[in-house]
């Protein structure tokens, strides 16, 4: 499936992975795809989104407000949360290190998911959330419907708008954007490019 992505669409996907890393999130979600689409160096729809009044700083702020950052994969916030239900993470860790050596608890679990077209994608940069995978599947469907041979940044944006329920869509809606109007503008961008 990935071979039908334009160079730019691949850049957007890589940008989403990078955004996930930057924010310290576990999975690549629709919000990270949106941040990548806003990156002018990667995406031809960045200008269109900026014109509509969306910018990366604002989106990042909205994401922070909604989900916060968790830069440590298994850090203080986890320890605190576990303490709230009576589990002493330090004690668990030291028991495990007694038996299995230092850092026994540190290995990040790998949970490959292979559902759907894009289920196997990993990019060694974290997995894609079900919604983000859905966005990429919808991008493909948009391209098929439009009889486009390749999937570009525009199709990813169309997929994002069609999915409609992810954090990205929520952020856009809360910023006062009309998703249907944004969709029309994106479709018009194709006509202008053609």
């Amino acid at each position: 499936m990935f071979e039908r992505f334009t160079v730019q669409a691949r850049e957007v996907v890589r940008g989403a992975v990078a955004a996930r890393e930057r924010l310290g999130h576990r999975n690549v979600g629709t919000e990270h795809l949106l941040l990548a689409l806003l990156d002018e160096e990667r995406s031809s729809v960045a200008g269109l989104l900026h014109e509509a009044g969306v910018d990366a700083a604002r989106v990042t702020e909205a994401i922070d407000r909604k989900v916060g950052r968790d830069t440590e994969e298994f850090g203080d916030r986890d320890a605190e949360a576990l303490r709230s239900i009576g589990i002493d993470l330090a004690a668990v860790r030291s028991k495990l290190e007694e038996s299995f050596g230092e850092g026994a608890l540190e290995s990040p679990p790998s949970q490959p998911s292979r559902r759907g077209f894009f289920g196997g994608w990993d990019f060694s940069g974290g997995r894609f959330s079900p919604r983000a995978r859905k966005v990429l599947e919808l991008a493909l469907r948009e391209a098929v419907q439009l009889r486009h041979r390749e999937i570009g940044a525009e199709h990813i944006l169309l997929g994002l708008l069609r999915e409609g329920n992810g954090l990205a869509a929520l952020v856009l809606t809360e910023a006062g954007l009309d998703l249907a109007e944004l969709r029309r503008r994106t479709l018009r961008a194709f006509d202008q490019a053609a």
Binding site: E73, F74, R77, D78, A79, E80, A81, L82, R83, S84, I85, G86, I87, L89, V92, L96, F100, A104, L105, E106, S107, P108, P109, S110, Q111, P112
Partner: protein, 78 residues
């Protein structure tokens, strides 16, 4: 200790954010614990079937989840 008081309050909190965050942390702990113990079982020569029985899951499930990891492969194939 004010921190202890805060935590005691958190334990009894009905705020979904606090409760759900604990669930997330517990899931992360569970995932890590499972990795540690499955790898250990493999190192000790347990078959995937034996591990699956102990975890009360399917052999296919446990194999799919863990067999790809280098440390779980050290004892050979499934």
């Amino acid at each position: 200790m004010s921190q202890a008081t805060d935590l005691a309050a958190a334990a009894g909190s009905t705020d979904p954010r606090v409760g759900l965050r604990a669930v997330l942390a517990l899931r992360r702990l569970l995932e890590r614990l499972e990795v540690v113990q499955v790898d250990n079982a493999r190192r000790q020569g347990w078959s995937w079937q034996e591990i699956a029985d102990a975890l009360e899951v399917s052999r296919q499930g446990v194999h799919k989840k863990h067999a790809g990891r280098a440390s779980a492969r050290t004892q050979g194939g499934a």
